[in-house]
Symmetry: C2
Amino acid sequence: MTGEENAQRMEKIVSLCKRRGFIFQSSEVYGGLNGVWDYGPLGVELKNNLKQYWWQVTVRERDDVVGLDGAILTHPAVLKASGHVDTFTDPMVDCRTCKTRLRADQLAEKKGIKQCPNCGGKDLTEARPFNLMFQTQMGASADPASIAYLRPETAQSIFVQFKNVLDVSRKKLPFGIAQIGKAFRNEINPRNFTFRSREFEQMELEYFCRPEQGMDLLAYWLKERIKFYEEIGISRKRLHILDVPEKERAFYSKGTFDIEYEFPFGRQELEGVAYRTDFDLQQHIKASGKALDYFDEETKERFVPHVVEPSAGVDRTVLALICDAYDEDSAPDEKGKMETRIVMRFHPRMAPVKCAIFPLLRNKEPLVAKAREVQALLRPHMNVFYDEGGAIGRRYRRQDEIGTPFGITIDFETLGEKGQELRDTVTLRDRDSMKQERVAIKDLPQLVSSKIR
Amino acid sequence: MTGEENAQRMEKIVSLCKRRGFIFQSSEVYGGLNGVWDYGPLGVELKNNLKQYWWQVTVRERDDVVGLDGAILTHPAVLKASGHVDTFTDPMVDCRTCKTRLRADQLAEKKGIKQCPNCGGKDLTEARPFNLMFQTQMGASADPASIAYLRPETAQSIFVQFKNVLDVSRKKLPFGIAQIGKAFRNEINPRNFTFRSREFEQMELEYFCRPEQGMDLLAYWLKERIKFYEEIGISRKRLHILDVPEKERAFYSKGTFDIEYEFPFGRQELEGVAYRTDFDLQQHIKASGKALDYFDEETKERFVPHVVEPSAGVDRTVLALICDAYDEDSAPDEKGKMETRIVMRFHPRMAPVKCAIFPLLRNKEPLVAKAREVQALLRPHMNVFYDEGGAIGRRYRRQDEIGTPFGITIDFETLGEKGQELRDTVTLRDRDSMKQERVAIKDLPQLVSSKIR
């Protein structure tokens, strides 16, 4: 696709997100808050499906990982030790002509001369470091001792609770601590829809191990994580693995892979899988004076574990799911004329609504009653949506546009009005092939459940 | 129970929460952050079970409620309109003797003279309002226009997105918008463990209706919410309903009920069910100039809906679950001697671990292999825990202490070594009665699943 086609595609995606209630600009009625987003009725279901599946495969299905849910408000000592207070900065430049503040790496350049990309001005200040953490005051007094930060990553909550979790969980190395939660970065130029936001959610695993296991586990987790993206329905061909060169890695990392996705706005990072060595724990040991180490009962050694960190962005992955799912094809309208159909090809596991239930006609009470029965039958097992409004083709189309994988229609055959053979059967329509099959109502829970797990 | 007994009980609960990994002090290795808590491996599972069950019954099982997930960072105009910027304050008094800052309503009083409860001093300042919102700076500049707040309640996200959600969801009145998310209040004196925290999570429903439906729906939602607490296993006898008198209600509320729980530290609010009239929407209409109203297609009227709000605290409900579950009884130790048993009597629906799986002996490979098979069989359906360490009685006791409702032991009978009759059966132990029954492995998924839903 050309750049223009990609831009058009992205515009359609953003428009659908608002029109169908996936994502809204935050505080929109007051002009919006730049870089901050709200998830609408479908967005919150999609995001929850993603988070719950990650928790399922990362924590619940493994004996070697336990969960944690740390606070957002963070003691400054934690972020001093981790290096964030001193070095979590972007170099910033001010344009003296138009007064815009710019990230130094986003300046334009013409014949080797730096320019403001906004006004073209060349009167720029020197680059100065600008800390990306949000800070606030805690308690009633306003002295510097009362500063707290909104955490810039969930990882540090895990490192500072490492010893508590080790003590209560009785785990042996290698084992991991997983967390899903919000983090905040005061991005100077939030952009690309929800991709670079100031408030975002992370799904992070810190997997602790013996030093000699680090490189192997880095390779292991990279594979596991790629598998995860395939399992949620992201096309493998749009995923890329970047082996981050040493000079671009954090100085303490012995290896980092970025898992990137081809968004319409370019190839961008979804997740970093980093071998962080024992850097973080050592920093907190130094700063807190606490023994954040591990005692090996078999070898009688005491040492500080190393850590491999697969760190994924929830919002970025939701956006990748949406971009990957967006498709247009052709389908016949009510009169058989072919028209463009927008269809979100979500993996059934991720789809916000799993099954839509339609009585053929809304003014025919037995159809409606039967449809409500089917809804009650399926509801304990999955998120279902009941819709009786409008022509059946229009109702299918509305569900295609939000990616509902299955549509169930209750018609006169269901009521036994066309003979007993088809009584208590319904049509089950597949979103992608648009094919319909006749299925007994009693088989629906098992049949549909098996396709959405 | 006497005050002292209650204090002792609370001490035991707090101690168990740390010892077994329900709740840790946040940033503990750096001396802790006052009023901020982290949830450990069991705490996060318990909290997720609560949130998911609330979402299930409030959103997924209802046709008239949709979800939302709004941002924490909030545009100041939102909170100016809602009244929080101007009036969300506590009156504060400073003690000039010991320099403590106190909430005016927490002063001691002796013979009508106000005293500092800390030092007994009587030299106190006048009460001054202190805003409870956390504030931060967004963007690179430090001017007042860049102030953003951490939301003090999730409700306002819903009101400002009311029109967007109405447009995309095509709902008719009455209908609700539900949200689970974090909110922040700079409490001067955080206390009672996690009960009054600075960072907390809410489960809120804003249920919009016609003005004449408000009082009936207030009564309806109060009943629904009491039912909810019973369904998650909170004893009805420790729940109380407070009909908040008019002079203590917000001035715009036509009726408010507090649902209170008898904590060991006193009777305290878990949830407020408030009829807020159209106050919030009207405020945002005035401040934003946007038409946040509703058009009734049948009556052709256009009006601003009223709202009934059941607003529950996640952390408070988790704490109530823990306090309600904590119990001590007697059980025989390895030698048959009776000893005190700590048992968390969580409702199986809420219990962090549903089922523990024990091979009788860890050094007998066929027992271990069979136990792993049972674990794999149950894992897709529930959170299970495998434990092979120590005497079986000790293992039961460890699970009782975290409230695991079911224990499965794989023994020599399971392997068919005591005859074919009991081959492929296990003992299923009930946490509360400590009774054991013999169950076929193949029946376990259905049997245990039916008890935890």
